[in-house]
Symmetry: C2
Subunit: 137 residues, 2 copies
């Protein structure tokens, strides 16, 4: 049960997009990547997934760039994790064997709680200025 670096990167860049609340070009993203100590080429790939998943939009050519597809209040950690990892808690083939069904049921309950909590945390809350130094480029 480990939070992947990928999800972490995705969250961070989305928070930045939420704060900017405008269209941000690749050049800007790359600068951001340097500041956040994230490999830029990887970040760009993640951006692609976020776009395919409908969380952000992009435009090519001059004046191109990325922007949130919805208001920050309408994007939660749950959206991000399920998009990037497929599920907040992947049970694998946990329902096999003698006590498998019972144990799997317990994990399903845990997953429900986890998903509910993740759905509560929106980009709006994450991007709120209050408390914690934010980096302005």
């Amino acid at each position: 049960m480990k939070l992947s670096v990928k999800v972490d990167y995705a969250c961070r860049v989305l928070v930045q997009l939420a704060r900017m609340d405008g269209r941000e070009g690749l050049a800007h993203i790359e600068e951001l990547a340097r500041i956040e100590a994230v490999p830029a080429t990887y970040l760009v790939q993640i951006l692609g997934e976020l776009r395919n998943g409908g969380l952000i939009t992009s435009r090519r050519g001059k004046q191109g760039g990325y922007a949130l597809a919805r208001p920050p209040a309408a994007i939660s950690l749950l959206d991000i994790v399920t998009l990037i990892e497929g599920d907040v808690l992947d049970l694998g083939g946990a329902a096999e064997g003698a006590s498998g069904k019972r144990v799997a049921q317990a994990w399903r309950e845990v997953r429900a709680v986890l998903a509910a909590k993740c759905a509560e945390v929106t980009l709006e809350k994450l991007a709120a200025k209050a408390g914690g130094e934010m980096y302005y480029i």
Copy 2:
């Protein structure tokens, strides 16, 4: 965020131990492994970790075997996961970079909720007979 097979195996074997509530020999464990479709040699290794972590006790020689170290009500999913994986939700180095602190704080809250829920689910509840076919050897 994936539940590892190892944790799943550990949960299942612990549920079985909770149900038996006596000392179970390796021979029995291996039969159990066959029934649960778990590689016996791996299961034995996991048993070793559970023992080192203090969740079960073992005895060698004739009349040897494994037993829970505490009453089933005093062992929860939280105990099992933290013992096997180190943490219910490993944040990695998520606190770096510009928005890192903020995002990490959010995940810490999520982790707290997750841990609380896992702590609620005890072996006693999992081993309860009510509802769901249990496998008796």
